[in-house]
């Protein structure tokens, strides 16, 4: 499993696809929002959590096609299916890679981007934490989407319509937790529920995903 994680991270880094586009996305937002909204700091504070969370999902969307499709197309997937590595572990590794290059990246970046949007540092940190506990679920959901996307005809439509509804609750919980914090409400329950969802998702989804991949290989 470590083998896969390291290969994928290496290939991602080598391709540099990883970091740059999501970061570019955030930069675009950070540059453009003040132009659109004007220098109203209070306003920024209200929008920022939603924007940051939207950024997490978008950076996920950027990857959807690159999770399993390359492995399917270059023949890696069938070789992996035949290898000694159980498919579930392979999927696990992919979830982790995806999480590192979307969730973890944005967890780290959130406070900085928050500052650029005039978000108080503490709020930025809560945002960061909510991304940290919520994004594993998103990564698993993204991988499911990626798996379903490998069904060639119309795979992308299916993938979008799988990922979108599943990620909505997580987005809502994530955003609400930050808003609760900045309003001085109880935000821990939100975070706890979010981590609960995350744990459940990453425990169950790998099995569903490997089921999908096995089906895709047989198509």
């Amino acid at each position: 499993m470590l083998t896969i994680i390291s290969r994928d991270l290496k290939a991602n880094l080598r391709l540099s696809s990883g970091m740059w586009l999501p970061m570019a996305m955030f930069l675009t937002i950070v540059v453009l929002l003040p132009i659109g909204v004007g220098p109203d700091i209070d306003l920024h504070t209200r929008i920022a959590p939603a924007i940051l969370w939207i950024g997490v999902v978008f950076s996920l969307f950027l990857y959807l096609d690159r999770i399993f499709s390359p492995d399917l197309e270059d023949g890696s997937l069938e070789r992996i299916a035949v290898s000694d590595l159980p498919m579930e572990k392979y999927v696990w590794a992919k979830v982790i890679v995806l999480w590192i290059s979307s969730g973890l990246l944005l967890t780290v970046l959130a406070p900085f981007f928050g500052l650029l949007l005039n978000l108080p540092l503490t709020v930025g940190l809560v945002c960061s934490i909510s991304i940290l506990v919520g994004s594993p679920a998103l990564a698993a959901i993204g991988c499911l989407g990626g798996g379903i996307g490998t069904f060639n005809r119309h795979g992308n439509l299916l993938q979008t319509i799988i990922v979108l509804p599943l990620s909505i609750p997580i987005l809502i919980f994530g955003t609400k937790s930050v808003i609760a914090y900045s309003n001085g409400d109880a935000y821990l329950p939100w975070l706890l529920q979010l981590s609960g969802i995350s744990l459940a998702t990453i425990a169950i989804f790998p099995f569903l995903i490997s089921y999908t991949l096995k089906t895709a290989l047989k198509e």
């Binding site: 290939a11 023949g75 069938e78 035949v82 290898s83 000694d84």
Partner: protein, 205 residues
């Protein structure tokens, strides 16, 4: 040996491949039907057949990578190494990294024995995307066969190999059979290995 139901495959520990009256479907449409063979250690099956006759489908059915089949089928999958039409190499990574990946995935320590055998060890640090077609094929073969599995399923392994590469590969195949392994391979060339059995899928359409 357990009696097998139609359409069920069973993973067993005995090194034998037993295929009886196998019919494979693609999209509910039979590609070939009634194929039977029985391979024991040291057996070497050569599969021929025109394009689209189902050679790839047969190998994939053996590997449970194909959706629908009828007949009985028995193969110890955890003893099986496979290389299909595609090489499964990441263009951005070096030969060495790719080779290591496939060995580690099968819990083998790194060894460049087969890279040396195929005389591509000199390319170790080159990224795959810079290599020629035949070089890639050799590296894929080295990764697949270096896993020391006892059954080899190879789909047109000679494609893109030069004459020397073909000889090197057939040496490996012969050695593996003598070492009581099992080799199944498909090809459009006249066999340069010495198969103990041979079927043509054109007879099972």
């Amino acid at each position: 040996m357990a009696k097998l139901q139609n359409g069920q495959s069973l993973v067993e520990d005995v090194l034998t491949i037993r295929v009886k009256n196998l019919t494979s479907y693609r999209n509910d449409y039979p590609v070939f039907s009634g194929v039977s063979f029985h391979l024991k250690p040291s057996d070497h099956l050569f599969i021929r057949g025109s394009n689209g006759s189902g050679k790839t489908t047969l190998l994939k059915t053996l590997l449970s990578l194909s959706s629908k089949f009828e007949g009985t089928l028995q193969i110890p999958l955890h003893e099986t190494a496979y290389l299909g039409h595609l090489n499964g190499l990441k263009p951005e990574l070096s030969v060495w990294e790719n080779h290591k990946f496939w060995l580690e995935l099968n819990n083998k320590p790194f060894s460049d024995r087969l890279l040396v055998h195929f005389k591509v060890d000199g390319l170790a640090d080159t990224p795959i995307r810079l290599l020629s077609e035949g070089q890639k094929r050799k590296i894929a073969l080295a990764g697949a066969l270096g896993t020391d599995k006892r059954i080899w399923l190879l789909d047109e392994p000679f494609n893109a190999l030069d004459t020397e590469g073909q000889i090197l590969l057939s040496e490996l195949v012969q050695a593996h059979c003598e070492n009581s392994g099992i080799v199944v391979l498909t090809s459009h060339l006249e066999p340069i290995t010495q198969p103990t059995q041979s079927i043509s899928l054109d007879d099972y359409q």
